[in-house]
């Protein structure tokens, strides 16, 4: 008999991570370990106002009283928080006025990643903020944005330039005491992006942040804060990669979104951190807290995520639907292959009247991957006529992977309207043979079937990124099935 489709699937197991190179660049780092001194050091390096230093220390002291959560459906050895480097920055001139002053090695790195920072090379209409290890290295299109009043800069810069805005909203959605990882982040966060879109302004371009972990033994703790004032609209995208390293690296980010009356925030993530090698060695531990607050009436927050990387993903982008008629959405594709584990989902907290939420989750497991959907929809007593629609689908490739679903639904108002649909399917021998019989090889067939499965999520992504996501999924799937 001819080589079987199994053999074709088997071959893929060897596919390598294509973003795994290391940039040889001098870094300014603190020694591993965490105490108040390290936090003060980070804060003073960044010349932060004293209220922020105090906020960090408050978080740190609180963190010392907390324990790491054990409820996720994840298995990993204990993390030694004292072996992590909490601050690492590429050495360069103290202040950047233009891209000319950015270390050429850094520019080269982003170029290699397909993220050119020179503005003329930009995708039309996308402004980029690039975060390398702990600090933001470049933000493009600042001027164009400033003309409309949109602030898009690194978090550190925002602390200097717009301290009142930062102070007003920092921790207003994810308080410093929120959870183990968010609290750690609050103590040691080093940089990230800040966006403020003023009243009635529709941000004229997609905003994008590109995160890159480079240095060894480094944790990345970035903090993103996006505020859309009344009637404002913004679409934001983040992408992430890291070098291949044998040890696990911790990434504990916090993202806070605030949408006031009639404001819309669309937040898209393409996460492709290094997932570890075929034996499960190395890879990023991705413990991330993302939450948006629909604070005003008719506010709208939409999360779209394509999660293909990381050894471990722990992440639940959520919406607090406080304003009347506000809308929360969560569209997710999470792929686990090799030894990857993901415990991801969302929380929709309905507080205001007539609030609506939609959850569409697509989990794909291949190899020995373990994929868990964990979601909570909570309707508070005051949320009259709230509606939720949840759909969670799992796709299994091969017979050594797993899919798990933990939906929690809590309804405290009898007028609520809830819908929940869930399916689990397996890429069948039947489907593959059908495609093969039409001349399509197994690899293309798997990609086609997976893309079909993810379609409802991909169409929520901005056009350019939908294509990128599709390609990423294809590359990630290579080598995943055996």
């Amino acid at each position: 008999m001819p080589p079987t489709s199994d053999a074709a699937l088997e071959r893929w197991e060897q596919q390598e991570y294509k973003w795994g190179f290391v940039t040889d660049i001098e870094a300014d780092s603190v020694p591993p370990g965490l105490d108040e001194g390290v936090i003060r050091h980070i804060s003073s390096k960044k010349q932060e106002p004293s209220w922020l230093t105090e906020w960090r220390l408050k978080a740190y002291r609180h963190w010392l009283t907390m324990t790491e959560p054990t409820w996720p459906n994840l298995k990993y050895p204990p993390i030694d928080y004292n072996s992590i480097v909490y601050y690492s920055a590429p050495k360069q001139k103290p202040k950047l006025d233009s891209l000319d002053q950015v270390d050429p090695k850094l520019l080269e790195t982003y170029d290699k990643l397909g993220i050119p920072l020179e503005e003329q090379k930009q995708l039309a209409g996308v402004a980029v903020d690039a975060v390398f290890d702990s600090v933001s290295v470049a933000t493009t299109f600042k001027k164009t944005l400033a003309e409309t009043g949109v602030i898009f800069c690194s978090f550190s810069e925002a602390v200097q330039q717009y301290p009142e805005l930062v102070r007003k909203y920092l921790g207003s959605v994810v308080p410093y005491s929120d959870n183990f990882f968010a609290t750690l982040n609050s103590a040691v966060f080093t940089d990230g992006s800040f966006v403020y879109v003023p009243k009635g302004v529709r941000c004229p371009m997609e905003l994008s942040t590109y995160f890159r972990i480079n240095a060894a033994s480094t944790g990345q703790f970035e903090r993103t804060l996006i505020v859309a004032d009344s009637g404002a609209q913004v679409s934001y995208l983040e992408g992430c990669t890291a070098p291949m390293r044998d040890e696990n690296q911790l990434h504990a980010a916090v993202v806070e979104l605030v949408a006031l009356d009639d404001a819309t925030i669309k937040y898209s993530t393409i996460q492709n951190w290094y997932p570890g090698d075929v034996d499960g060695k190395g890879g990023i531990y991705n413990f991330v807290t993302k939450r948006g607050k629909c604070q005003g009436r008719n506010a709208h927050i939409s999360w779209t995520q394509v999660e293909t990387g990381s050894a471990i993903t722990w992440k639940y982008p959520s919406c607090i639907l406080q304003g009347e008629n506000s809308v929360g959405e969560f569209y997710s594709v999470a792929l686990t292959k090799g030894h990857q584990q993901a415990d991801t989902g969302t929380k929709m907290l309905h507080i205001g009247r007539n609030t609506r939420s939609t959850v569409v989750s697509k989990g794909i497991s291949a190899g020995r991957g373990q994929n868990t959907y964990r979601g909570m929809v909570k309707i508070n007593p005051g949320a009259a006529s709230a509606r939720n629609y949840t759909q969670c689908d799992s796709l299994l490739i091969g017979d050594q992977c797993g899919a798990h679903t933990f939906p929690y639904i809590e309804v405290k108002n009898p007028t609520a309207h809830m819908e929940h649909e869930a399916t689990t399917s397996k890429i069948g021998e039947d489907q593959l043979f059908y495609c093969n019989q039409r001349g399509i090889d197994t690899e293309d067939a798997v990609n086609m079937i997976v893309n079909g499965f993810c379609k409802e999520v991909f169409r929520e992504l901005p056009m350019e990124f939908a294509v990128e996501a599709q390609k990423l999924l294809e590359v990630s799937l290579e080598g995943s099935v055996g």
Binding site: M1, P2, P3, T4, S5, D6, A8, G428, E429, D430, Q431, F433, Y434, C435, N436, Q437, R438, G439, I440, D441, T442, D444, M448, I449, N451, G452, F453, C454, K455, E456
Partner: protein
């Protein structure tokens, strides 16, 4: 075009095909008939290269190539098409996208230029019209939510698009009402040509009223027990399979 010699095949250790010999020349339509469990569908699946069936001995040559040594997609690219008895659903994948990928894979293998989206659209619309297929079907996901009749028509439509040299129809008539049957048969007849051959696997002679075969073969217990022309199918319609099975059983014991 197709030469099957002494073909034995089994599934899960059960021998199903027990020595099939069959020659199909260009332009011919051969019908394979037979009682349930005689190996008709197995033959179709083995020709297409289904994994689950293990060929234990024999040879199949297709235009001079050793068909059994080719993976299913290579067979498809070489011009072998199977119209499935139970076409599978592929959720979220538009029929047009699926077919474009398939057609371009086949064109690439043939050394022809791949069609871009616009060229494909025109090409496929013409084909849809030719087999009386509603082109709205192209926008729907492959077979998802299709009725039984729509699925079978979609198979014939795909055949029209992919233009195979050899089309194997595996019980394409099963589950069709008479109107749907006529539409499907009509589509097949339009595709008949001097260079294209068909193997029509069917349980009933009804389909053969519409797709008139050049040869009829009766499969009994994994062997071709009787071959003839169209009149053989009419005889079967009248007398059933019993008399052939009996004769086959006798010749079998006589041979021992």
């Amino acid at each position: 075009m197709l030469e099957i010699r002494g073909l034995y095949a089994s599934v899960d250790g059960h021998e199903i095909l027990k020595g099939i010999d069959l020659t199909v020349r260009p332009g011919e339509v051969h019908s394979i008939m037979g009682p349930n469990g005689s190996g008709k569908s197995t033959l179709a699946q083995v020709l297409a290269g289904r994994d689950a069936y293990e060929v234990t001995s024999g040879e199949v040559r297709f235009n001079g190539q050793d068909l059994l040594n080719m993976p299913p997609e290579e067979r498809a690219c070489a011009g072998v098409f199977l119209a499935f008895q139970y076409p599978v659903e592929i959720p979220g994948v538009a029929t047009s996208y699926f077919l474009k990928t398939a057609l371009n894979a086949i064109r690439k293998a043939r050394g022809e230029k791949e069609l871009d989206a616009m060229e494909f659209l025109q090409f496929v619309k013409d084909k849809a019209a030719a087999v009386n297929m509603d082109d709205r079907l192209l926008k729907r996901a492959v077979n998802e939510g299709f009725s039984g009749g729509e699925k079978k028509r979609n198979e014939v439509f795909q055949m029209a698009v992919l233009e195979p040299a050899l089309a194997v129809l595996d019980e394409t008539d099963s589950g069709l009402d008479i109107d749907a049957l006529k539409i499907v048969a009509d589509g097949v007849n339009k595709l008949r040509g001097a260079e294209r051959s068909f193997i029509v696997v069917t349980h009933y002679q009804r389909l053969l009223n519409y797709i008139v075969p050049d040869y009829v073969h009766v499969l009994v217990d994994g062997r071709i027990a009787k071959s003839g022309d169209k009149s053989l199918s009419l005889e079967l319609e009248e007398k059933g399979y019993g008399w052939i099975e009996q004769a086959a059983g006798e010749s079998c014991s006589a041979g021992k």
